[in-house]
Amino acid sequence: MSVFVTGMGIISAIGNNVVENLSSLQERRSGIRKTKLTCHPQEIYAAPVNLSDDDLRNRFQVSNTPHSRTSLLGIAAVAEAWGHNKHLPNVRTAFIGSTSVGGMDKTEKYYRQVLEGNSADFSLVQTHDSGNTSEKIAHHFGIKGYINTLSTACSSAANALMLAARMLEHGHADRIVAGGSDPLTGFTISGFQSLMIYDEDWCKPFDENRNGLNLGEGAAYLVLENEKSISATGNKPLCLLKGWSNAADAYHQTASSPEGKGATLAMKNAIEKSGVALSDISYINAHGTGTKNNDLSESTALQNIFGKNIPPFSSTKAFTGHTLAAAGAIEAVYSVLSIVHQVLLPGLNYTNVMSETGLTPVTEYKPCQVNAVLSNSFGFGGNNTSLIFKKI
């Protein structure tokens, strides 16, 4: 059974919908800026979405019950992805969300009240659990029954898409809305700072002088359908989700192995599953966080798979910042755009080639015959996921 991508929606620092994101990529306009966020004491380089919680509530007519920013961003993305879809009696629709910190944006406020000894607003902590994030999004669109959430740090949304594809392939559902969302929080910013991998300047993925990541926020969701669903919904497929794999690096809780074992396994197995020839992979949307460790490990893994013939690759995290759990879905949307518009997407802030690998990423938005795209998402705990999208 085939897995078709029939809808997608996105909200990120470079746009509140797919069209805005595409034009920012085309015009090489980054969403990362030096900014003072309310959730963090210092001015930092980060990529916030330019809509407040209230803006999001009003724009998407969200009920006046407690919602984390994580859910609100998710609702924005699903509103675009879901579009004119309707609930149909014979189309079993499921929801698979993902987030790394759930409602941490609200929990921070709640716990500050607790620690300061003030009477605490429990409605804030009500949205803490990651499952709540998905339930709020799914219910906004009337999706019931199978509502699940995956949380594997920075590979979360890629795993949500993979689980959706596996369930569709085995007939466990007909149409699945899958993706992920994460907000900027003091918790995650301080966390990456504590690991000393938060760049104090713009992140520089795949550059010799890269010095860490910048965080961003956002959400992206895709609508995936099987043949039965498409014949009922009449939705037009954008492309196929053709291959997927998850593998564990089993090297270190946060660092990637120097030989890129988990990444190599994930890519190899995803490509095998897809049946796509190596030569048909026209573009790779890399994980490319801009940390010393990730970009070297990922480059080595690319060499393990493709040898000297590595397809054009780039990391779009220099546009969106690293959006953690959402990254896999945001970059899945970009992978689909690469196929639909037959273009290669650029990275930014690249100047010097990495001495160990000598690999040069794509730096210009340019037309290209794109048959298939490989998208990588790697997370803490050595959680590596690769997806293959293919032109129909």
Binding site: Y111, Q126, D129, L150, S151, L163, F187, S190
Partner: protein
């Protein structure tokens, strides 16, 4: 068929590698009953691990040993609230320490997938590694993933669940009325396989996780399994109305409320599955003083949160 080859569980009952424990359940559930972690975890690592990680790695390692399996073909975990101890520790630091670098260890270990990730490290396991987190249904969704994986490929899957108690949970539970039974911790892992072995303990017949469930959910589930009633029901028993309704609908079936036995946490249905496996392996069991001899099927009904239903059907394995 999905075979349960082993079951290792740490809880506030004496459950860990204690065959027949279901005959010796205690009414006092004030403390977590821990094994000697050094037997299962590299001692140099134990110190840095939170309780949820210790419990999980010990159970995962024990489950593999007890199943006679060297490595897992997938590690799939469910957790309702994840690594709470490390999350609270880092959050506390973020709020109270202004300026300067924070120690990173608790941030590193705060992500939900630290549980499955630490297992992959401890077992040097490079295969599929997944973490489901859907509050009270996290374990059932993890089991569904494991069953889907066994439909895709033959193998041995380490599937389980873990949740830990921390003090700041208490006022939240009090506020939302989830304090009828003590808040506790629990973790466990099961080896599931598509092939029967000398270690096989029971059969995992079917699993359902459903949000927005209606009152027919149990009946529909039993129907798709060609059963009018299971031989034993284990249910969270948290809400008196649910319990009364169940006893009415299944008047012939003994019902064991499990939350009074293990306490309150999001993935307590994994405790119930561990209990069901033990009961089905015993020749007789006692429920509310009466002896039960005929028990081939056990249904775990998890309705801890309103509208959320998790159902796990276990059958005994007749070799």
């Amino acid at each position: 068929m999905y075979y349960i080859q082993s079951s290792a569980y740490i809880s506030h009952q004496d459950t860990f590698r204690k065959k027949g424990f279901s005959k010796n359940l205690s009414e006092n559930i004030s403390t977590l009953i821990k094994p000697d972690y050094k037997e299962f975890i590299n001692p140099s690592l134990i110190r840095r691990m939170s309780e949820v990680l210790r419990m999980s790695v010990a159970c995962g390692s024990a489950a593999l040993k007890d199943a006679g399996v060297i490595t897992a073909d997938a590690i799939i975990a469910g957790t309702g609230l994840g690594c709470l101890m490390d999350t609270e520790k880092f959050l506390n630091n973020v709020i109270t320490i202004q300026g300067g670098m924070l120690p990173p260890t608790s941030f590193i270990q705060s992500t939900h997938n630290t549980i499955a990730g630490q297992l992959s490290l401890a077992l040097s396991c490079h295969s599929y590694n997944m973490t489901h987190t859907q509050n009270s249904l996290s374990f059932e969704y993890a089991l569904s993933d494991a069953m889907l994986m066994l439909d895709e490929q033959s193998g041995n899957i380490l599937a389980g669940a873990a949740d830990e108690y921390i003090d700041p949970l208490q006022p939240v539970a009090n506020h939302f009325g989830l304090n009828r039974f003590p808040l506790t911790s629990g973790a466990g892992f099961f080896v599931l396989s598509d092939k029967v072995s000398a270690h096989t303990q029971a059969v995992l017949a079917d699993v359902l996780a459903i949000n927005d469930s209606d009152e027919n959910v149990c009946k529909d589930f039993l129907q798709r399994n060609q059963l009018s009633a299971p031989d034993i029901i284990l249910t969270d028993g948290y809400h008196n109305d649910n319990l009364r309704q169940l006893r009415q609908n299944f008047s012939e079936t003994p019902v064991i409320p499990y939350t009074p036995l293990c306490g309150t946490y999001a993935t307590s249905s994994a405790f119930a599955m561990h209990l069901a496996i033990d009961i089905l392996q015993e020749k007789t069991t006692h429920v509310s003083g009466s002896e039960i001899k005929q028990h081939r099927t056990a249904l775990v009904i998890n309705q801890l949160l309103p509208g959320h239903t998790g159902l796990i059907l276990i059958k005994n394995h007749e070799a």
